[in-house]
């Protein structure tokens, strides 16, 4: 055992009572005790404090117990800190649970946002120029003109024919065309007449109305 180890062992074995610095100085006069002790203080291994008017050395673990035994203020403060610690732990557990729940919700939310974004992306891809705003009045005029252009002897025209012409002209998708056509027909029921049949058209009560004419 080295001399330094002996000094440290001496301090440790002194326990809660601590060891007088002067006793150490006497016993280990051959070494620069102050340097050694200062190093350990810096390393937080020992504590040197006054008991009365004399300097004592404690191992850090024992010094804590010494304070508890000798200083009621410290003891009381520690009790308070323990309460604070318990409250903090409880709060922390509660926060953890909330965070966990929020995490779950965030995942769902993120999934939803992702799904909507994907849908919007697909929708945006399905229409050629989403920035276009269709003027219903102009669309109505072209709708009527196209009916006149293609109508048979009693006026019927497949909506698919109108869609083909007007979708190109207005640069709109099939869905946009039928939304506009439905709006137009619903707002002018005395002007237009629909008939079932065809491969595409306006859906009413589960039936495809694929033909239109002006009354």
């Amino acid at each position: 055992m080295s001399l330094e180890e002996k000094i440290f062992d001496k301090i440790f074995s002194s326990g809660v009572s601590g060891l007088k610095k002067t006793d150490l100085t006497k016993e280990f006069s051959s070494v620069n005790l102050d340097n050694i002790l200062n190093t350990w203080i810096k390393e937080n291994k020992i504590i040197i404090s006054k008991k009365g008017s004399t300097n004592y050395c404690w191992h850090k673990d024992h010094y804590f117990q010494y304070l508890l035994d000798s200083d009621p203020k410290f003891k009381y403060t520690l009790e308070l800190l323990k309460d604070v610690d318990i409250s903090f732990r409880k709060l922390s557990t509660s926060i953890d649970k909330h965070v966990e729940r929020l995490d779950g919700k965030m995942i769902v939310l993120m999934d939803s946002i992702l799904a909507i974004t994907t849908k919007n992306h697909n929708f945006e891809n399905s229409i050629s120029h989403p920035q276009n705003v269709i003027n219903l009045q102009n669309f109505s005029k072209d709708f009527d003109l196209t009916i006149c252009k293609y109508s048979d002897s009693i006026g019927w025209v497949p909506l698919a024919t109108l869609r083909n012409d007007l979708s190109n002209k207005y640069e709109i998708s099939e869905k946009e065309f039928y939304d506009l056509a439905e709006q137009l027909v619903n707002e002018n029921r005395s002007k237009y007449e629909l008939s079932t049949g065809g491969d595409e058209g306006i859906m009413i009560r589960g039936l495809v109305y694929g033909y239109v004419r002006c009354l």
Binding site: D152, L194, S195, T196
Partner: protein, 415 residues
């Protein structure tokens, strides 16, 4: 009792038209269309005998959407108003299978009244009788009269009865001279013989030309014996290849004193246009294109509903207030529930009248309409509605809104 003091439910329970219900024809546009068809028949009847065959042949097309009342109109024409001027055959093309030329021809014949061929045979036998002297040699031979039978005045009549009861077969080898004049050709006489021998309905090994000849002879006989033109109604006319081929042959034959009435949807008409330009061209040149434009409008539908009630309620009339209430509910069914054709509305009305009768209600109100819709169309929602509002509440709110709008209009107009 049913609402509005009716003894029976005025609306048809059948989802498709039938002869009984077809006697009622409401709606301005349907009545105008009926008048157009009757005008066509009148026009053909008035054609002089000297007119050539092409001038005595007509085509009528009735083109409109499903559920708009085409079949109803067609059946109405068959059962009323034309009995003095036309003999009508009605055939539903959707009921013909296999759909080939012989089966369509067969359906044209069976589309007449059930006793048509029997009456035809009877009239042909009396036609023969009228053209021969009862004691002549020809009479004795055709009707196989014995010596004493030829002496009694009722001899031939008795023999005709026996022939009609299929107890006697006449000797038709002697009728050629009777029919073989300018009115009937050899082909006609041959067809007449098949009718008298009950072989007309036997279509084995019959050619297309034979069919056309037979139809032509029938039209001649109908005119000569009954003084009526022949009208063939082809309901649910479609773009089937055999149907179109047969129709083309009939149209090209210009069968005298005959009208072809073709009933089809715009969709079928478009298919014919794209698949058979030849027959489409002929249909485009139809003499009468009956246009039921607006037949699914609210005005037309409400007029038809009121016509049904009026038909069975001649003594007591529906009051103005009752009519207004009923029509406001039909309008909501039409606009907010998208029941856009007369067939759907009649179905709802039939069920509503049954429910009202069970509840002993004297009128159709919003609760009855609500219950009817919930029973007949479970899960039905108001168009575009996000809230689960009850139908009867919605009808009440809508009617109140409409009446408040009317009041506002009246106030503005009075200022």
């Amino acid at each position: 009792m049913y609402p509005y003091n009716l003894n029976k439910n005025p609306f048809p329970s059948s989802p498709t038209p039938n002869f009984e219900g077809a006697q009622i024809l409401g709606g301005k546009r349907h009545q105008e269309s009926r008048n157009s068809i009757l005008t066509c028949i009148e026009d053909l009847v008035k054609q002089p005998e000297t007119a050539n065959s092409e001038e005595k042949f007509r085509i009528i097309t009735v083109i409109q959407d499903v559920g708009s009342g085409k079949t109803h109109l067609t059946l109405n024409i068959k059962i009323s108003g034309t009995k003095e001027k036309a003999i009508i055959s009605y055939l539903d093309m959707s009921q013909i299978y296999p759909k080939n030329i012989p089966s369509i021809y067969q359906s044209m014949i069976s589309g007449f009244e059930p006793d048509y061929l029997y009456n035809l045979k009877k009239d042909l036998l009396y036609y023969i009788k009228d053209r021969i002297k009862s004691d002549s040699k020809i009479a004795k031979k055709i009707f196989k009269l014995g010596f004493f039978e030829s002496l009694s005045g009722r001899g031939i009549d008795n023999k005709i009865l026996q022939i009609l009861e299929n107890k006697l077969q006449p000797d038709l080898g002697y009728i050629d001279n009777i029919f073989g004049n300018k009115d009937f050709s050899k082909n006609d006489v041959s067809t007449i013989k098949t009718i008298i021998k009950n072989q007309f309905e036997n279509n084995e090994s019959i050619t297309l030309m034979d069919m056309i000849n037979r139809l032509s002879t029938l039209s001649k006989i109908n005119l000569k014996l009954f003084n009526k033109i022949s009208l063939y109604q082809f309901d649910e006319f479609d773009n089937n290849e055999d149907t179109l081929s047969f129709m083309k042959a009939i149209i090209n034959a210009h069968i005298s004193n005959t009208i072809l009435m073709l009933i089809l949807t715009p969709s079928s008409y478009q298919k014919i246009a794209s698949e058979n330009s030849s027959i489409y061209d002929r249909l485009e040149k139809a003499n009468y294109k009956i246009d039921l434009a607006g037949s699914n409008s609210f005005e037309e539908i409400s007029d038809i509903v009121l016509e049904y009630i009026k038909f069975y309620n001649l003594n007591t009339t529906i009051t103005d207030g009752q009519r207004k209430d009923l029509l406001s509910q039909i309008k909501i069914l039409y606009e907010d529930f998208n029941f856009r054709n007369i067939r759907s509305i009649l179905n709802i009305m039939y069920n509503a009248f049954e429910i009202a009768s069970n509840k002993k209600m004297s009128v159709i109100n919003e609760q009855i309409v609500d219950e009817t819709l919930r029973k007949t169309y479970p899960g039905l929602k108001i168009k575009g509605s996000l809230m689960d509002i009850s139908i009867s509440d919605y009808i009440k709110i809508k009617n109140r809104l409409d009446s408040s709008r009317d009041i506002k209009k009246e106030i503005v107009l009075s200022l």
